[in-house]
């Protein structure tokens, strides 16, 4: 019997046996006095770890020019290289998947030189247009791809997360590559004063993963990451996974990082850097307070977290859950992460 089926059986058995004690509990609570407590602040911790706001670019323009020259050089250099070198067909030893929202697949040989470079979607075709990366070493290819994504606007101030997925048969090599690739990309970004968030993961690709990725129109790296998110959140419905698959890596990163807020990162992933958001959690909360015509002192408790928008748009929003003194209702607002606009509201109670 599959573990998932067994787990469901266990859960269902306990659930079916659980008595309904609601009525007796309500009766008991009416009779039991509550313990009075010292006035402890009920502010929930703000869930926005690893978030940076409003990065200002100082030297980006100079770096863009430098990268553009490099890309041109690669294009010309590689053209000349391919004219002079003859070799037998190399075997793919390693595959590296880049996801920002363009999805690029780099296949490399045992010398970490590019054998083949594939575009996983239309945006990636724009990124790779004019680039000839076959025969180029890994570091140069990385710089070129990151640079092209930057030049074409796919990597920007509020779209600064990259998912790197490495597939090899050698676990040690995978670990080394993940570190090397992350370090290389960080070096490229450091020169531009731009913050970048990188998630680096190893992936084992099988037919099931490939098929599911194809059905959703995403890379196997992104599909593998979604599977881990689902597992980390205790399981997600297929609808929820489909919704998440439409989000950019930056938005997925914002949701994923919440899991580790205030606790040790027990994931095997390498997560580095900061994720940029235009509006802070505090600003989102203040937008809600203003929308309701209240003051900050009226707030009893609140909590903010990132979730996919429920308005049909493929992006995350702040969800602000807030309660006010002298009002028993719990209010739940969606606030746009970029503009701070209050998008929707629901009241509970």
């Amino acid at each position: 019997m599959k573990k998932r089926t067994l787990k469901k059986m266990i859960f269902d058995s306990f659930k079916a046996d659980t008595p309904d004690l609601r009525c007796s509990l309500m009766d008991s609570c009416e009779k039991e006095p509550q313990e009075s407590a010292p006035q402890i602040s009920m502010d929930f911790p703000i869930v926005n770890r690893c978030v940076n706001f409003r990065i200002v670019f100082n030297r980006a323009t100079a770096v863009i020019a430098g990268i553009a020259i490099l890309l041109f050089g690669i294009f010309i250099g590689n053209y000349m290289y391919r004219d002079t070198v003859t070799s037998a067909d190399p075997t793919t030893e390693t595959v590296v998947y880049f996801d920002v929202n363009p999805s690029v697949e780099l296949r490399m040989d045992e010398k970490n030189e590019v054998v083949e470079c594939l575009a996983g979607n239309d945006d990636a075709k724009v990124v790779l247009a004019g680039l000839k990366l076959e025969g180029v070493d890994m570091n140069t290819a990385l710089t070129a791809i990151v640079g092209s994504m930057y030049v074409n606007g796919y990597l920007a101030e509020y779209s600064n997360s990259i998912l790197i997925s490495v597939e090899t048969n050698d676990n040690e090599k995978t670990a080394v590559l993940l570190n090397d690739i992350t370090a290389k990309i960080n070096t490229v970004f450091e020169k531009s004063d731009m913050e970048c968030s990188i998630i680096a993961q190893s992936v084992k690709v099988d037919e099931n993963l490939k098929q599911r990725a194809e059905e959703k129109g995403i890379s196997v790296g992104k599909m593998h990451f979604l599977d881990k998110m689902a597992k980390g959140f205790g399981g997600l419905s297929e609808d929820a996974i489909n919704k998440l698959s439409e989000l950019s890596i930056r938005d997925l990163n914002l949701i994923y990082l919440q899991k580790y807020d205030g606790e040790e990162n027990s994931s095997e992933d390498l997560i580095s850097g900061t994720v940029n958001v235009a509006i802070s959690a505090d600003e989102a909360k203040n937008a809600v307070i203003e929308e309701m015509g209240k003051a900050s002192d009226d707030v009893e408790c609140y909590r903010t977290f990132f979730l996919p928008s429920r308005n049909g748009e493929s992006k995350v929003v702040y969800v602000v859950v807030i309660m006010f003194y002298d009002d028993p209702s719990v209010y739940k607002y969606e606030v746009d992460c970029q503009t701070g606009e209050v998008v929707s509201m629901h009241r509970d109670g």
């Binding site: 059986m9 659980t18 009920m42 205790g234």
Partner: protein
């Protein structure tokens, strides 16, 4: 009721956020929040009690008392994003008191006899075959780990911290329990 997410849909940290919200409402004296909280985590609390006591009657009492304690102490809870750890700590203390009470009231000889016959003493309590077998064939440690991980969704590391057991023990006992239950489920399928 619970607005955008219903209790059956939300899991993990989202559920924790809602539990904390309900505790906050209870701290303000809202009894209606008790019903919502029970709907959200009643099975978690009951399953843990049942895994510890293997007695339906005792588990009902412990579950009831746990929620009453949550109600009484709601204003003392400091939101840290892990409300279930707080709730299970309350429950563990209540279970210990219950066990001590039972030990004191039952004569020593009778207690021994109950232990020897423990394999069958759930016979008349639990109607579900699978659940009854689970309570009989797993040790108390295995049962509590199964309930905390599968019913409440706690990670093994969290279970290790809550039960004050080494992580390796938690992992190995969980693995053994799952194997036992898989074997039983397979035998049951084959005998049909």
């Amino acid at each position: 009721m619970l607005s955008v997410f219903t209790p059956t849909e939300i899991k993990g940290w989202q559920r924790d956020a809602w539990v904390e919200k309900l505790i906050a409402r209870m701290s303000r004296g809202e009894i209606s929040a008790m019903g919502d909280l029970y709907e959200l985590i009643g099975t978690d609390v009951y399953a843990f009690a049942l895994s510890k006591t293997a007695s339906r009657e005792d588990s009902e009492d412990i579950t009831h008392d746990t929620f009453v304690q949550i109600w009484k102490n709601a204003s003392r809870y400091t939101p840290m994003g892990k409300p279930l750890a707080w709730i299970f700590t309350i429950e563990i203390n209540l279970i210990r008191k219950q066990i001590n009470r039972t030990r004191k009231s039952v004569p020593f000889d009778e207690a021994i006899e109950t232990e020897i016959d423990s394999e069958d003493f759930t016979e008349n309590m639990i109607s579900d075959d699978f659940l009854r077998h689970m309570l009989n064939c797993l040790s108390e440690e295995e049962r509590e780990i199964i309930s905390l991980h599968i019913v409440s969704g706690l990670k093994h590391r969290e279970i290790s911290k809550l039960l004050k057991k080494p992580l390796s023990t938690v992992l190995s006992k969980y693995s053994r329990a799952i194997k036992k239950l898989q074997n039983y489920a397979k035998e049951r399928e084959e005998s049909k």
